[in-house]
């Protein structure tokens, strides 16, 4: 111990400076963190302040109106829920399937590598690009012959599915990769074949991760306005879609329209719409957290 003392002493003169640097670095990082939180706090406060007076049961169950006190977002709300579930139904099988293939089956070669790079690049493509792709492909190309697809819920869900697929694939791959190899080897040692190993061991262990990733991807999908505006182009609707081949509108479009109105009251309605959208997003994220916690504790047992 003693032989180090001289060294420690020689550093001593700088101690004060180092302490100051240490403290200021701490402050800088703390402020960086706070910027985000304070920004979010101000935003939420502002939205709640403006929106809460407008938020009531009638707001949720009425159709849009030119009179602010009679306006509601029923058609947009139901459209959002429809779109979310249909997107999930389309995305989960394809996304998880692709992830299983890439992680468990795909040979390590150039083609696989190219696919992997492509998938991660696609996750960064701006959403409006998907919207225009969806409009060209689903609405005009597949929809032109007697409205096979057209501007329907299905076309919207297909577009959003394209948008979130890369996210689901990447999340599912992470989850599958995190399953320890010893599990697989154990199952193989018991005589299971590849599909049995995936079905009985890999997927159940990876499920919490897959679910979390999927739900977070769905939250992203329902907050998107740009691609859905390109597909739906609708604001005023006084019915709710009864099947996937009907027209639709969603919350972000309705909010966007209200914000752009000249009358001040519509800004309050927009704020109330944002609260509803936030409530849906937070509920979904909460479900993701609960599911993950539930399955994680179980697999540790």
């Amino acid at each position: 111990m003693n032989e180090y003392k001289p060294v420690a002493n020689s550093i001593n003169p700088n101690r004060k400076r180092r302490k100051i640097i240490g403290a200021s670095v701490y402050c800088i990082f703390l402020i960086s963190t706070l910027v985000g939180i304070v920004g979010l706090g101000v935003l939420i406060f502002d939205v709640l302040d403006k929106g809460i007076p407008w938020l009531n049961w009638q707001f949720l169950t009425d159709y849009p109106s030119r009179k602010p006190e009679e306006a509601g977002l029923y058609s947009a709300l139901i459209g959002t829920i429809w779109l979310m579930f249909m997107t999930a139904l389309l995305t989960v099988p394809i996304g998880v399937g692709a992830a299983i293939y890439l992680e468990e089956y795909a040979p390590r070669n150039l083609l696989t590598k190219a696919i992997e790079i492509n998938v991660s690049n696609l996750a960064g493509v701006p959403s409006i690009v998907y919207g225009l792709l969806g409009m060209a492909l689903f609405v005009y190309y597949l929809g032109s012959s007697e409205q096979f697809l057209g501007r329907t819920l299905l076309a919207g869900a297909l577009t959003l599915a394209l948008l979130v697929l890369p996210i689901v694939i990447m999340a599912s791959r992470e989850a599958i990769r995190a399953v320890p190899d010893s599990y697989r080897q154990g199952a193989y040692a018991m005589g299971a074949d590849k599909w049995q190993v995936i079905k009985g061991v890999v997927l159940p262990s990876a499920l919490p991760g897959i679910l979390t990733g999927t739900i977070l991807a769905m939250s992203r999908a329902i907050g998107e306005a740009a691609p859905v505006i390109a597909i739906s182009a609708l604001v005023y609707m006084t019915f709710i879609p009864a099947h996937p081949m009907e027209r639709f509108t969603v919350l972000p479009i309705q909010i966007y329209n209200w914000v752009a109105r000249p009358q001040e009251e519509f800004r309050g309605l927009a704020a109330a719409g944002i609260i509803v959208l936030l409530a849906i997003l937070l509920t979904m994220n909460a479900i993701a957290v609960v599911l993950r916690n539930k399955y994680q504790t179980r697999s540790e047992e």
């Binding site: 139904l89 009864a242 752009a260 000249p262 001040e264």
Partner: protein, 319 residues
């Protein structure tokens, strides 16, 4: 064994989740039928799209119409005048909202190719309002030449003192609608002589409320947008008169329809597809539109055309 148990559990969870989805869907399906009890005869779908300026009128008419005929679905979109005509000229929509006449031959040729016949109906007039901040105390009126000097593509005016002799040394900051807007088309055509031609260094926004905020808080500001946005924000803006050679005229509910406020008054239309008009729900809707149009046009902040214009619309439609 545990793997198997876990597996079946996860499968059952998936089914439960699926069940919730389906319940949700069925729940949605039931609600539609609740709204339709009184009038069962008239059904169908009417597709409207186009100008965001005309949108509030069509929305208001659709809303009132739905109270009488709840089973008719009236869908109103806002793709802009140009975007609306794109859909209208291929037969995708029954009615197109427009804040300018259809372009000849660019848009009319597409309609001809697809065999789309249509009737133009005048609804009313919107006065493009040129505004400054209320703290601006030196401008009351600008001439068309001055506006052109400020807004032309190669304009070198960066300061109010260059606009007119006697104006103070104050940096000028410009606000206007973005290039997708029909308002931008109309203003540039009237002021700069050609649609879509404008100096690029101004604050552009698709949301007119952003323009109102910007102009209101900036002493050196100058901007333009539809009259409805001024009417809702009279306390935050100062409205300028425009002189087109015969004196300064301020846009108002009197000067806009009379034609005195020229050339920045622009017409508002709907275009009706003549084939669609043969469908009973469209016919009843358009007839209703012509009946309540004047009142609702005024209600949402524009100036409705005279009774005779509406009567003329109706007669042309019946031909």
């Amino acid at each position: 064994m545990t793997a198997l148990v876990r597996n079946t559990e996860s499968v059952s969870i998936v089914f439960i989740v699926l069940g919730i989805f389906i319940c949700g869907f069925v729940g949605c399906g039931n609600d539609t039928s609740n709204r339709s009890d009184s009038q069962k005869e008239l059904t169908g779908t009417i597709e409207i799209d186009g100008s965001s300026t005309v949108y509030p009128i069509s929305e208001a008419v659709a809303e009132e119409f739905n109270k009488l005929h709840p089973r008719v679905r009236v869908n109103v979109g806002v793709s802009g005048t140009g975007g609306g005509f794109k859909r209208f000229t291929v037969g995708e929509t029954d009615i197109s909202d427009a804040s300018r006449p259809i372009k000849d031959p660019k848009e009319t040729s597409v309609a001809d190719e697809n065999g789309i016949g249509y009737v133009k109906m005048r609804l009313g007039t919107d006065g493009l309002s040129v505004t400054v901040s209320p703290s601006n105390d030196f401008v009351e009126c600008l001439t068309i030449q001055e506006l052109n000097a400020i807004w032309k593509p190669d304009s070198k005016i960066y300061n109010w003192k260059d606009v007119r002799l006697g104006f103070p040394n104050l940096k000028i900051r410009l606000y206007g609608p973005d290039t997708d807007s029909g308002t931008f088309d109309y203003f540039t055509e009237e002021i700069n002589g050609e649609a879509q031609v404008s100096r690029p260094d101004y604050t552009a926004s698709a949301d007119d409320n952003v323009l109102v905020q910007g102009i209101s808080g900036d002493k050196g500001s100058l901007g333009y947008f539809g009259f409805a946005y001024y009417a809702e924000n009279t306390d935050k803006l100062k409205l300028l008169s425009v002189d087109s050679g015969s004196g300064c005229v301020k846009p108002s509910l009197q000067t806009i329809p009379s034609g005195e406020y020229s050339p920045l008054s622009r017409p508002l239309f709907i275009y009706v597809n003549t084939d669609s008009y043969k469908r009973p729900e469209v016919k009843i809707f358009v007839d209703y539109y012509m009946e309540v149009g004047p009142g609702l046009t005024n209600e949402v902040g524009y100036v409705a055309s005279s009774e005779s214009t509406y009567a003329d619309n109706k007669s042309r439609l019946s031909e």
